[in-house]
Symmetry: C2
Subunit: 445 residues, 2 copies
């Protein structure tokens, strides 16, 4: 299942020297990534997904008049004027429990003991709560009924009713919640617990939604070692594939982490081709810059050449920091979209937030693909500096309308990132931001 | 694994007629439910969990001085005064790629081609980006290196450098991110994607956290039919077990949905006993009121009698609407906490939000167990009415400081619930709230 279509941005971005803006790159991605084809899923598997059908109520809820209290189903005239001093004495003809099959008729002078949710029996016009009666014990008002297993005689004998009841008191009318033919939920609804509850209530066991996208995350780099293993000379631990797999899950995807792939184009190509079968979106990190060992660039340029029309990965420079080198396009027979992110941990994480998260949410068909942003006052010891012509995303902590930078601008400061909850945006034309200035902030949630 | 301990509220709530406040009931639950015992989990399995150890950095990050650019590692003196007119010509002694094992020495008049992330080789003092050089091609500044597989000669020959570089330019110093012995993350940190990235970066393959609680959800009622099946006379579809399983997952739990159990105490008892083995928390719906068929009350009062000291389920009346009848306690050999919620769909959902969600989050050891609340202006056609002495929770939609009721007060209005995103709180001593008044609102997120 895939959703990539040829890109149609209508803009001329040709040439390797074009510096793409963040918006241009994002626009290209969102013009390419189409929502996944809907499938029918069991209710609990559809949690968090977007409904693609208008759901109509097949049968009214509640499907029958039923009692909202534990009590007695009676005729109005039989309890008119009843009081503690002059109770109405009625013959108990049996129990009406919820889900009970056999019908019961309530005639004049009679009462049926009725449980919450049970159908109002034929002949009965109203319900008196058990607390308004002696519960059949003849000793004044009671707090409740005895369990039937302990006191089966409660379903027989006589009951004294101490208060009158109007017609249909404590009765939930058929269709008072929803009526057959009503629109229960509209296409586009995101299915949370209450929506799943409503679908179950109207009898839907399955529902048609856009599924969660399957995202394959792989990092590249011959220097990468699996956490927990021993670190050799010149090696570092692979962190990107862990952070981005977690981030993809957080965005709503089913994410598969593929271990780090060494800087060998043939190995990378065959790994990607292997993984395509379970990918609605591929994400790689590393190997996209101007070095001689930038394996993603090398391997995927090759794939693009050999591929059918409409596919191909384009490597770009973006007017942003971190995250300048980026690759994007689609590969394989299904034109599976692929985002090739830079390898520095902070660069790849910021790139994920700006580009991959929106792509995942677009695949899900969600209406709002972006993180929320806000304006905040900068709290800092000194001015922030930013290179001209680059949009800078600094890590910060946000609270109560103020944002404070964490760590520096270095794209390898993964420790600082782990203590941030926001990105501070310094626009392309700004080279310095003084403490106390207002800045745009992306809230990482 | 279980966490229930005998309750110690220090208050006298004895007697079946005591009307518990929402706070008293919640306080009792939170005094009983203890955070789960920590376990060691693989990083990606620990997402969303609370760290229980202070994590110290075992090895500095980066673990060695390395290049932040693709370029050439050189000596400062060799490029002093270099310009496009008078470039420095240096002998290329080879490549330093990330993860490459063999060491390389840079002598006077020499340069090593170096890739981002690769260790600064012995002898080299600084890095000049490839864009400041001719890339060995002798034809002026280049935009990047050719892939090694396509141009292996790039690792040999001569390179012209067009700009000088200060000592340690484009070099990320060992330990500039975190130093060995630093505190990476504190106990109590919730592990999101960036925290998982940091743990991976410092080499942690597993981490000690409180696990997600396993929550077993079962509904009771002989009238309940599985959605998708045919609805017989007097039957309704089971919606509670679906809504609450989804809600438990949303709260962070691993939730198991058990199909609806008929109103038979023996069946219910044996079902619960069966399920205890996989439950850190049990949630039931229905059968907790004053009717003769209230099976949860019947079954669990019995369990309590036969159980060891410290266990037992207490059935209570709460001063709230919906959700008046509630059961809470612990059962089984591990004193597994159990919340018995009322059976009406809206009652059970509101009860979940108020009591079960905090219990789940307390089991996870999360610092903030409650939904956020805010104040909002009531937008409504007419005044809201509420019974005296009961705290009412009405469903509403919240936006921009205003809240609008959805549907009525009836506890069976599951359709309205599915269109709400907030609960409007009407306090016990308030019987009427006029449009335009300020009200407390629970945001359902």
């Amino acid at each position: 299942m895939s959703s990539a279509a040829p890109r149609v941005t209508g803009q001329d971005h040709s040439g390797p020297d074009h510096l793409w803006s963040v918006e241009e790159h994002l626009e290209d991605i969102l013009a390419t990534v189409r929502p996944l084809e809907p499938i029918e899923l069991h209710l609990l598997d559809a949690q968090g997904c977007v409904l693609v059908e208008d759901v109509t109520v097949p049968v009214s809820l509640p499907p029958f008049d039923n009692s909202s209290m534990d009590g007695y189903a009676v005729r109005v005239a039989d309890v008119a004027g009843a009081s503690e001093e002059f109770p109405a004495a009625l013959e108990v003809v049996g129990d009406v429990a919820a889900g009970q099959a056999e019908p019961l008729h309530v005639g004049p002078g009679q009462a049926a003991r009725i449980m919450t949710g049970a159908p109002l029996p034929p002949g009965a016009e109203t319900v008196v709560p058990v607390e308004w009666t002696d519960g059949g014990l003849g000793e004044g008002p009671v707090a409740g009924m005895r369990a039937r297993s302990l006191g089966p005689e409660g379903a027989t004998g006589h009951v004294h009713v101490y208060r009158p009841a109007e017609a249909r008191a404590h009765v939930r009318a058929k269709g008072s919640d929803v009526k057959a033919g009503d629109r229960a939920l509209e296409a586009g609804t995101i299915l949370g617990p209450p929506q799943i509850g409503l679908l179950a209530a109207i009898g839907r066991g399955t529902v048609r939604v856009r599924p969660r996208p399957r995202v394959v995350v792989l990092s590249t780099g011959s220097e990468l070692v699996q956490p927990g293993a021993e670190l050799g000379t010149g090696h570092i631990y692979d962190s990107n594939s862990f952070a981005l797999t977690a981030a993809a899950r957080d965005a709503g995807a089913i994410a598969y982490r593929v271990g780090a792939v060494a800087d060998d184009a043939e190995t990378l190509r065959s790994t990607i081709e292997d993984q395509l079968v379970r990918a609605d979106l591929m994400v790689t990190t590393g190997g996209v810059s101007v070095g001689a060992y930038d394996v993603v660039k090398e391997a995927l340029s090759h794939v693009a050449d050999a591929d059918e029309a409409g596919s191909g990965i384009e490597f770009r420079k973006l007017a942003m920091q971190p995250g300048k080198p980026q690759g994007f396009g689609s590969i394989g027979p299904d034109h599976t979209p692929l985002l090739a992110l830079p390898g520095n941990p902070v660069s790849s994480y910021v790139s994920f937030e700006l580009f991959v998260r929106p792509a995942i949410r677009a695949l899900m068909g969600l209406p709002d693909v972006h993180r929320p942003t806000t304006r905040a006052t900068l709290t800092a010891d000194k001015a922030l500096t930013s290179p001209k012509g680059r949009r800078q995303f600094l890590r910060g902590t946000y609270a109560d309308g103020r944002v404070t930078p964490v760590g520096g601008a270095g794209s390898h400061l993964v420790a600082a990132l782990a203590h941030a909850d926001a990105l501070i945006v310094v626009p392309e034309d700004t080279e310095s931001v003084e403490p106390g200035a207002e800045v745009e902030v992306v809230l990482l949630g």
